[in-house]
């Protein structure tokens, strides 16, 4: 077949191929997500951690709706294979992230696995877990001049947007 640039472009596909097919991919993600909800910090390969991150955050969004919501309960029942974690999700994790709107997870990279495959590994955790803090990639120093000016600019833009919404 023609080997062209289009083959390297995903054209809008956001789901990685994992395992033996779409069903296998969902089952694998389910297992990893269950482990994450149980232990709150797990170690997997980088690709799997990246995929699970999206589903972990969406699961918390559903859990925030409360356990009386039918859809939320169905989702939790599907994604958590160990059913003793469903009350943990609704009663411990959802209240923990009530104030935060978006980022509930943190991903940090780890040296490659020692096995023959030397797989690139990552650690995925829910924020606010009881373990000692991870060393994530450092952001730029906020106290430099350029970063302070940019911070001020961003705050001004936010203020203007808020004033526009009120008016």
């Amino acid at each position: 077949m023609r080997l062209n640039i289009q083959m390297l472009i995903s054209h809008g596909r956001v789901a990685r191929k994992m395992g033996l097919g779409p069903e296998s991919r969902i089952n694998m993600l389910r297992n990893i997500l269950t482990g994450l909800v149980r232990h709150e910090r797990i170690e997997t390969t980088r690709g799997r951690a990246d995929e699970v991150r999206f589903y972990a955050e969406k699961l918390i969004d559903y859990a925030k709706k409360g356990d009386t919501d039918e859809k939320a309960m169905k989702m939790a029942n599907f994604w958590l294979t160990e059913k003793d974690l469903i009350p943990k999700l609704f009663k411990v994790l959802a209240p923990r992230f009530e104030t935060q709107p978006k980022a509930y997870t943190r991903m940090a990279r780890i040296p490659n696995r020692e096995n023959l495959d030397k797989a690139a590994m990552a650690v995925l955790e829910y924020k606010g877990n009881p373990f000692p803090p991870l060393q994530t990639a450092k952001r730029d120093n906020e106290l430099t001049l350029i970063n302070q000016l940019l911070k001020g600019y961003r705050e001004e833009r936010a203020q203007q947007a808020a004033a526009k919404v009120e008016a």
Partner: protein, 255 residues
């Protein structure tokens, strides 16, 4: 005694001409715009990595076209009549009517497919809603069906796709729910153009019990993907977007 000539009253002076009272035409079919909250599906942008500016510009153009040509509210399953400009026809227009079986496309490229059976031959024409060739769109019968896509009418018995060419417009109410036609269609014998029994098409409007055995229906269910409804990646929630766009379109159209 002299007879009074026309235009003379008793005094002998000419009467003031009083015009006859205007006839009041009550067009019950579709003169008023629909009072339902309906946003045409082509206004809703698909899930893409495109700058939203493109969609807002396109919406402006669509509203401008809608101010010239009245595009009424219709659904898949309603009967429409379309007059289009045709340079090769006598009278320069041609008129086609049929059941709408599919509404596709987004933005200015929105299309709808009308199907009818004329002289025993099934005919489907795909019209672009915002094409300048369209001159009039009439909804002869406004109704919904059990599915969003009636492509299976190609494999159904012809009586379900025929629309009488001299059909008169059926009056429909401007408020309230759109009537849902719950007919379930009988099919011709297999092979069909698509395997409509498979769950990916999610067809509610076919009488499968008359054409397929229960074993075949069970075998078709092996292609069901029960994890799909739980896959959060595939969800696209458009309610907030729809409300915003509906308000914008209504304000622009009333200007």
């Amino acid at each position: 005694m002299r007879r009074l000539a026309q235009g003379e009253c008793d005094d002998g002076k000419p009467t003031k001409f009083t015009p006859p009272p205007k006839p009041v035409i009550i067009d019950k079919t579709q003169s008023e715009a629909s009072l339902r909250k309906f946003l045409s599906p082509e206004f809703i942008p698909p899930r893409q990595r495109i700058n939203p500016l493109k969609f807002s510009i396109e919406r402006k153009d669509m509203i401008q076209r809608r101010k010239v040509l009245n595009i009424p509210e219709f659904y898949v399953g309603s009967v429409l009549a379309v007059t289009m400009a045709d340079p090769h026809a006598s009278g320069k227009t041609n008129r086609f009517m049929g059941i709408c079986i599919q509404r596709g496309g987004h933005g200015l490229g929105a299309t709808f497919v009308l199907r009818n059976i004329i002289d025993g031959q099934g005919v489907e024409i795909c019209y672009e809603m915002y094409s300048p060739r369209l001159q009039q769109l009439e909804v002869l019968k406004l109704e919904k069906r059990l599915d969003n896509n009636l492509m299976y009418l190609r494999d159904a018995l012809p009586e379900y796709s025929t629309v009488n060419l001299d059909m008169k417009p059926v009056p429909h109410s401007v408020t309230g729910d759109v009537p849902v036609n719950k007919t379930r269609v009988r099919m011709r014998p297999k092979p069909w153009s698509k395997r409509w029994e498979r769950p990916k098409y999610n067809v509610q409007g076919i009488r499968f019990d008359l054409c397929l055995s229960p074993e075949k229906l069970e075998h078709a269910q092996t292609w069901a993907e029960p994890w799909r409804e739980y896959d959060m990646l595939k969800e696209y929630d458009t309610t907030a977007l729809e409300e915003r766009i509906l308000k914008e379109v209504q304000t622009e159209m009333s200007k």
